[in-house]
């Protein structure tokens, strides 16, 4: 089955293409972009995108799919369904499964499972250290062969600086970036951001410097061994400042932030809603403004979801013992469009952070609308208003602090690998 998307405003942030055009997809590839294209032959599904925008499918460098080992929280099937609903066509899943993805056989398992059940492309992230224990390097080379594009001990930092140095050096062998979760665990024994809100709630708190100290350490190590480093889920003003300065001296630094760090502050934790419990924690208003500014001035290269689905029972407990994490794939795009509505970013700038830059980080040939390229794309309307209803999530994780929020901008159709992977029920095109 071939697909003809007619009359949409086609945008391609990489080439700067922007115009009312038709896109013809043959098999898994974009065959032609022109106007107007007539039906070429039989077996063509015509999609009317009049009034909507056609853009590359989104790429997320940070999700948790929980399989293998935590299938009650999420599976590769439900997680990728949530991804395509959110407009994502390529995602990275972190290694903190059970067993940990620290060897080829686990990577193989995930890759095989994705092939049979995945609704979009998934690139497993390998662990830096065996069992995420921070003690010895995992078999990175074998995992690269099996399909990983990056390594990370996400969930914690590699505490041993000497070991992280070796990981950064060793990863150069495969030309893959190390993704760093920045958290000084001795400073971060807490559940919320240390600030005025934590003073009022009495919840154990984590200061912003717990992140910033490791941000600085990891950039210093990477520069010393001349290896690429990607700092994930950056959340504080101090981190943005440190990264902005370091990037002037050393070019192989990239970073991402998540929609919750530019959409909501630690004040939301004051009524003890465990859906606001996330690591790093929701920060202060000043931090949120600095993150937004960092996105505007390109200190922050990309937006990732840190999609962290959890079962309701793990959130339906006292704040201290609730799990950390936000189920983010189905709200990330609309929250990110908020940056365009507020005038922080242009549409092209936003898509660069959601497609081109993550593709470049991972060395992926996706994230573009161009003849001859794989057909990964989305059709969306930036003006449609909708209300977040966590009960409608495809993800098993209903844990979101955005339940009930009115958002503006909606994904209507996702095409992954030339096939319709998601169609919004409201989309008649």
């Amino acid at each position: 089955m071939n697909i003809l998307i007619k009359n949409g405003r086609v945008i391609d942030p990489k080439s700067g293409l922007d115009g009312i055009l038709d896109v013809f997809i043959q098999g898994d590839r974009i065959e032609k972009i022109d106007r107007p294209l007539s039906r070429e032959g039989r077996d063509v599904e015509v999609i009317d995108a009049t009034g909507h925008i056609v853009a590359p499918g989104l790429i997320d460098v940070h999700t948790h799919l929980r399989e293998p080992g935590y299938e009650w929280k999420e599976t590769i099937r439900t997680g990728t369904m949530a991804a395509v609903r959110g407009g994502f066509t390529s995602i990275v899943c972190m290694a903190n499964t059970n067993p940990v993805n620290d060897n080829k056989s686990v990577t193989d398992y995930i890759v095989t499972k994705v092939r049979s059940e995945g609704a979009c492309r998934v690139f497993p992230c390998g662990a830096i250290t065996k069992g995420l224990k921070g003690e010895e390097l995992a078999e990175i080379g074998e995992m690269v062969e099996a399909g990983i594009r990056t390594i990370s001990d996400d969930g914690k930092s590699v505490k041993n600086s000497g070991l992280l140095r070796k990981a950064l050096e060793y990863a150069k062998l495969f030309n893959i970036p190390v993704i760093s979760h920045c958290e000084d665990e001795d400073l971060s024994r807490g559940y919320v951001h240390e600030g005025r809100a934590s003073l009022l709630s009495g919840l154990d708190a984590v200061p912003g410097i717990a992140e910033e100290i490791i941000v600085r350490r990891d950039m210093t190590l990477a520069a010393y061994v001349d290896a690429p480093i990607h700092l994930t889920h950056i959340s504080t003003a101090g981190s943005v400042d440190a990264i902005r300065h370091a990037k002037k001296e050393y070019k192989k630094i990239t970073c991402d932030t998540c929609p919750h760090y530019f959409s909501i502050t630690d004040e939301a934790t004051l009524d003890f809603d465990t859906n606001t419990k996330v690591n790093p924690p929701l920060r202060s208003r000043d931090d949120m403004e600095a993150i937004t500014e960092g996105l505007r001035n390109n200190t922050i290269d990309m937006i990732a979801t840190d999609h962290a689905p959890h079962e309701g029972t793990s959130k339906d407990v006292e704040f201290d013992i609730a799990t950390f994490g936000i189920s983010g794939l189905e709200t990330a795009f609309a929250l990110s469009l908020g940056l365009v509505h507020q005038g922080v970013l242009t549409l092209h700038e936003l898509f660069r952070k959601l497609t081109v830059n993550p593709a470049k980080l991972l060395g992926l040939p996706y994230g573009e609308i161009k003849a001859g390229k794989i057909a990964d794309l989305m059709v969306f309307n930036p003006e449609i208003e909708w209300t977040v209803d966590r009960n409608s999530f495809f993800s098993k994780g209903k844990n979101t602090p955005f339940h009930g929020w009115e958002l503006k901008g909606k994904n209507l159709l996702t095409i992954a690998d030339g096939k319709i992977a998601y169609r919004d029920p409201s989309f008649k095109g």
């Binding site: 005025r196 003073l199 009022l200 009495g202 154990d204 009524d271 003890f272 339906d316 704040f319």
Partner: protein, 307 residues
Amino acid sequence: MKWTKKDLLGITGLSKEEILLVLDTAESFKDISRRDVKKVPTLRGKTIITLFYEPSTRTRTSFEIAAKRLSADTINIAASTSSYVKGETLKDTAKTLEAMKPDVTIIRHSMPGAPHMLAKIVESSVVNGGDGAHEHPTQALLDLYTMREKKGTLDGLKIAIIGDIIHSRVARSNILALRHFDTEIVCCGPPTMLPPHLEDLGVKSEYNLEKAVRGADVIMMLRIQKERGGVAYIPSIKEYSTMFGLTKEHVGKARKDAIVMHPGPMNRGVEIMDDVADGPFSVILDQVENGVAVRMAVLYLLLGRET
């Protein structure tokens, strides 16, 4: 002024008028405890549960006596004897108890926000009997009652709060309540025990005990919250007591008519010396007595609320 709230979860959310309503109501209840027959029928037929996940003597007993003097039926549940040890969640415990139709549940818990969670689940009233390092509203109310009783007014008072401020729900609730009045509050302790951003609450920080108590009308001593890891914030109890233990000499620096308070339990010889705890300026046992009256007032107001 009428009481309208279903729950008392903290001083947060209370207006000055509501605080004064509790204090004024307590005034009328204090006399009952001094009678021969210490019981009035006000809450006859009401069921009050105390659900304590943390050890407590005075708070639990005080609530129970308050309830009984108002003729309510009381049931005490301690975590060590509850389904908690069998792995039941707070949510399920709450639903189970709610099915037995209590009128008020008083909860104490080591984790901040547990009473708020309970209040969202149950339709009956919830009173926070202390949640982690968050709030202890009835303690603050009885402290304000005692200050007002001894000083005649809250306005114009200088209050020094000394000790493990960062872990203290008593300090937090007292600060939030005293902020409604024209008071000067100084928090004193080693810097590790003074939380960052304290000044945002309109409170002064002071490391030196002698300076902190100078000219104070009220000295409120706190114990080190060992159960919240307080000991790790200082090198040793011995060193702490030499620098932050309240002596008679310290009290001498305060105003002549200063009072010394302590929410209990006291660690004599650590934060407070014997001659201070038992001295003429000590109102520690008045606090305990007033606690019953204030808790009677709280129960009375919650159950008689205007809906």
